[in-house]
Subunit: 339 residues, 2 copies
DNA sequence: CTGCGCTACGTTACCGCGAACATCGGGGTC
DNA sequence: GACCCCGATGTTCGCGGTAACGTAGCGCAG
């Protein structure tokens, strides 16, 4: 019977109930060391009977081992990080490790707080989005002695390991593809970027290539907050009213891009004849639209998987490649006219 | 200088560096008890200098207090739970408590595993989606002695506290609204439901009201996996080809509903004249569509907030209302014709 | 000067578990 | 039969903190 005294259950209770030492109970519950089948059964029965749940806090302290992996990401609300999480989960599923998520809202000071909090639980590894962190955060990570994988972005120097894509290159490639199709008068829409370094780098890569070809972005607009789809609509409408000469719109993410696309379709504007569109991310969600937006896959799930694999590998003292740059491919869809 | 010996830092290192006892360091770092400003400064300086991060494992063991709240949800990938998380975060932000997320993929056995894992860290509270759990899971929760808030659904008896809406009622209300508008030949599309109890309850509430009015669902279809938007498209197309007499389609969630809506619009079908549509959830994302889908808000953020408030309240030994049923409202949008 | 109370700090005893080592008993080897 | 070995189990100790309590030093009233 799940006893109900105020005193919490411990190994000792199970050991007394089953007539063996605490150590043996510990061994049974962790499947470690030699225990005869007979006693194993007795112990398991007693534990089940009592409703005993081991205390990992004590266990972690004694063994100096914590099966937690801290995952620190900016947001859960924009589809991209949940997909990274999925990748991480898939890999950690097969190990003893468990992910623990912390959210920073793109705020460096919050990242610092969350990181401090996480590190104080002495996790077996840290997976953290981005290469840009406050000095204090970097110092913590460096001196923690814990494996650290920085994900999403590889335009920079990691503290330890990194897995991601080059956003600069992603922006550049998209620019090349657009130019190759003959578009020349280009507008840009995206989030307010001071804190979204990856969006910024894409933008930089994008404009650099344009510049090399003697082209400048003719109009731009930035948003923050709200439903991205709706913002994409509004911004696109405003931009085209303001700059009707544009023949291409580049969006910093798929959701606002989709908003723009829907606006254009609703208003009978010829896509990609009159105006071409491209965005970034490759969110699966949009596959339900009748017109497929040109975009570029961010390899989110693979990134999660590889990062988790690196942590798991370190755990097992295996050598793993620890600077991985994935190569995203452009999906032309229906909004980036081919020659 | 952040020392780099292999030996990890402890309170002792900080105490030696600052010339006070470990206890005083502990007090400083936790802002507890009397410490003079002078020594506080010295200690903080030393801690910063060394890059010391407290070990919560040891702290938790000694104090029998863990500032973690376990949040157990079925999925991160469908917008609804991230929004619940947002609500939880907003409230816990102002407390010492920290959410830790576990994902069950709608699998009871995985829920059990995740719960066991979580409870073994002795969190200060558990927020868990749904009222349906395995017997073992219920037993664990009951005997844990930890505050438990079951969220999303209130059609049933909670273990401890609960916050949510009545999905049965939500389905029923939508059925009434649809009938009131004169629709009569109704099709239903949703996920395969054996494990999504809330979708099931909505469906039950829905069909019950129809039955009372002598109406039966004329066609139905279920999907699993894949992009919901795309599935909504495909299923809608198939269903209308199969059952062209239908004048209303009820979807178990907004994403497939939106897929259906887009299909109808693309094919020039008059919405809501020829076919009306309604779904469930009120996902903000869809506000960018040119035609607004009729839906019903699931009060996700409030649910998160209230659940977190209950846990925080228990922590502070306050009395809080602990059986809360929120009342979702129908948004008619443009797809549910008014009289 | 004594004694009281207060503040600022130190001491001690755990918290629940696991690593490392000790022990015990029985079967095989020669 | 002496010896060894090995699988199964127990003992000891300490992980890094914190609660609870103890105490030194000071100011101040009488």
């Amino acid at each position: 019977m799940p006893h109900d005294n105020r005193r919490p259950l411990t190994l000792r209770d199970v050991s007394e109930a089953s007539g063996v030492s605490e150590m043996t109970v510990s061994r049974v519950l962790r499947n470690r060391g030699d225990v005869s089948d007979a006693t194993r059964e007795r112990v398991l029965a007693a534990a089940r009977e009592l409703g005993y749940v081991p205390n990992k806090i004590a266990g972690a302290l004694a063994s100096n081992q914590v099966n937690l992996v801290a995952v620190i990401i900016p947001s859960l609300s924009n589809m991209v990080f949940p997909e990274v999480m999925t990748g991480i989960n898939e890999v950690l599923e097969d190990t003893e490790l468990q992910p623990v998520v912390g959210v920073t809202d793109y705020l460096p000071e919050k990242e610092e707080r969350v990181l401090y909090e996480m590190l104080s639980w002495r996790p077996s590894g840290v997976i953290i989005a981005g290469l840009e962190h406050s000095d204090a955060a970097k110092a913590m990570l460096e001196s923690s002695g814990i494996p650290v994988v920085e994900i999403m972005d590889t335009d920079g120097k990691p503290i330890d390991a990194m897995v991601g894509i080059s956003h600069r290159r992603a922006g550049a490639e998209m620019a090349r593809a657009i130019l190759k199709q003959g578009y020349q008068r280009i507008g840009f829409m995206g989030t307010k970027m001071p804190l979204d370094h990856r969006a910024r780098k894409r933008f930089e890569g994008f404009t650099e290539v344009l510049a090399k070809n003697g082209i400048e972005i003719e109009d731009r607009d930035f948003y923050s907050g709200g439903s991205a789809l709706a913002k994409g609509r509004e911004m696109t409408q405003r931009m085209l009213e303001r700059s009707p000469e544009l023949d291409f719109l580049y969006y910093s993410n798929d959701m606002i891009g989709a908003g723009g696309l829907l606006y254009l379709l609703d208003n009978g504007i010829d896509v990609p004849g009159q105006v071409g569109l491209a965005a970034f991310n490759g969110v699966e969600l949009l596959q339900g639209l009748s017109t497929q937006l040109a975009t570029m896959d961010a390899c989110r799930r693979e990134i999660g998987q590889m990062a988790a694999r690196i942590i798991a590998g370190r755990q097992a003292r295996e050598e793993t490649e620890d600077h991985v740059t994935l190569m995203p491919k452009i999906t032309y869809g229906d909004t980036l006219r081919r020659r």
